[in-house]
């Protein structure tokens, strides 16, 4: 699949300090790519380089086949929607006025219609005439998201989109992010919210100036903790130990009527194990993949890559 965004060996120095060090990744349409990392890990700097707001000290960003340079960045910024960490609304202006300014800055043919469509899409038409200062934090974030998507960018950069939101607003924001993926937009999501990443991200990059890891959450889990499956049977689980060893299982833990089996690969092995157990007479109650929380994966990755 052709990438819409390609970051190659991105490095950014601020004086002696290296904020981002040799980071490379690419992004396909309809993909949600999460950037994780502790404070100061270079997430926002990376997003700013992707958005053409600051130049990399070395390396490059290519958007839709075109390299971002000082000359091309004003035009290429029109292909990107960048939700900054703060909503950044003009408090004295109304919701509609805020959006209209951006519709005009993006040179939309019919700013009024684009703003009306955004107000409807984000369900904020009833607050269109309210000054931004009077909006709740969740509503401000919704308006900021509407502003980010006003010009229908194919690449969307989101810097902590749910930070400080109440659970309902955060859920709505996640639903929107998933909807953007369904619309085949490429999304880079910078966040500290691991639960959010778990729910929406297709791939995860863990940053600590350098790229510590980059993969799907499932593969990262498997790499660090191994893949396991939990099988519950009627009766004592440890009576099937020999069967499992015969099926090639080397690591199995028993607890009453359940067994936790280490898999060699993330998928493909489970059906054979279940078949062997059934053939041995096991009454299988349930089979569930055993997933280490992403938080454990993240913390383990950071432990293995000290600052």
């Amino acid at each position: 699949m052709a990438g819409v965004l390609k970051a190659s060996h991105l490095t950014r120095r601020f004086g002696e300090r290296i904020a981002v060090d040799d980071v490379s990744f690419d992004l396909a349409p309809g993909e949600i790519f999460a950037l994780l990392g502790p404070n100061g890990a270079g997430k926002t700097t990376t997003l700013r380089m992707l958005a053409g707001l600051i130049e990399p000290s070395s390396g490059s960003v290519v958007l839709n086949g075109e390299t971002v340079t000082p000359d091309t960045s004003p035009r290429l910024r029109g292909q990107i929607g960048f939700l900054t960490e703060a909503p950044g609304l003009w408090d004295r202006l109304t919701t509609r006025q805020n959006l209209t300014v951006y519709a005009r800055l993006h040179g939309l043919a019919d700013p009024g219609r684009a703003v009306d469509a955004a107000l409807d899409l984000f369900d904020i038409r009833d607050r269109a005439g309210d000054p931004a200062a009077q909006l709740s934090k969740g509503l401000k974030q919704r308006v900021a998201l509407a502003r980010t998507l006003l010009h229908e960018p194919r690449i969307v950069l989101l810097d902590e989109p749910t930070a400080g939101l109440d659970p309902e607003s955060a859920r709505d924001t996640r639903a929107l992010i998933l909807r953007l993926r369904d619309e085949r937009r490429a999304i880079v999501l910078s966040t500290h919210n691991l639960d959010e990443v778990e729910r929406v991200a297709d791939r995860v990059a863990v940053l600590r100036s350098k790229l510590v890891a980059l993969d799907t959450p499932a593969r990262l889990r498997a790499r660090l903790f191994g893949a396991r499956v939990r099988v519950a049977v009627a009766g004592a689980a440890n009576s099937y130990e020999q069967v499992l060893h015969a099926a090639g299982v080397r690591d199995v833990r028993f607890d009453g009527n359940t067994m936790s089996i280490a898999l060699d690969a993330t998928d493909g092995q489970t059906p054979g194990l279940v078949r062997a157990l059934v053939q041995a007479g096991a009454d299988i109650v349930s089979v569930t993949p055993e997933e280490q929380p992403l938080e454990d994966v993240y913390l383990r990755l950071l432990e293995e890559s000290p600052a």
Binding site: G78, G88, L93
Partner: protein, 269 residues
Amino acid sequence: MKRITALMAKDLAELRHSPGIFIPGVLTGLATIVYPFMIAIVIPYFAGERLSDSSDFEIAAEMYRLQPSARALSMEGAIQAFLFQHALIFMVGLTTVTGSMSVAAHSVIGEKQARTLEPLLATPLRTSELLAAKVVGAAVPGLLLMALCFGIYLIAVAVFAEPGVWLSLLNLRTLSLVFVTGPLAALLGLQLAVYASSRVNDPRSAQQIGAIMIVVPIAALQIAQFVGGIVLTSSIIVAVAAALAIANAILLRIGIAVFDREAILTRWK
């Protein structure tokens, strides 16, 4: 151009919610209207003397009457016209600058402090467009205020001064001063304030830098006029206007060069 007008319209819409910001400009405008009337009309009236009774203004009156539009004026009218015309430079310079300086000084750092600058910079807006919008957007209220003051000034001159004085003020020299040279000088000061606003961490610093760059030359020019060091003829005003236009263009280029969006985004707190 559309992006410049979009940003200017936004700035003006925000200013409508802060009318208090124009109080210094309005007070300055009123002062620049009142003070020449004090000298030319009020003080002579209460002193019981006409300006033409004093020999102090003879040379000024004769010089002023060399202008085609002033030949028909009486000696008293010519002296009044001289005073009213020379006081205009204060109105043009100070009213515009005080009406707009705080707007210009807050223009970039205000966006940064409100955390609205980064989303703005993430649009296709170019640095030149951002700066042009900020400078012109800041200048518009001051220029409108100055034009309003000029209108009131003319009406007041027509009502209170000698017959024909107000008409003598409507010459190329005055009009170019009010509508060309003055605004260009104001733009220069406001550009400096906007660029200072993009370089400092405190809007007060930007305001001071911009103000001093315009107030000092205007004050010097005014003093030089009154002591006879400089006579602002039409040709001098046109030459100054041309120099100011060039200076504005050069300053815009410098402003674009020194506008460090990276430093603004990454180092300002």
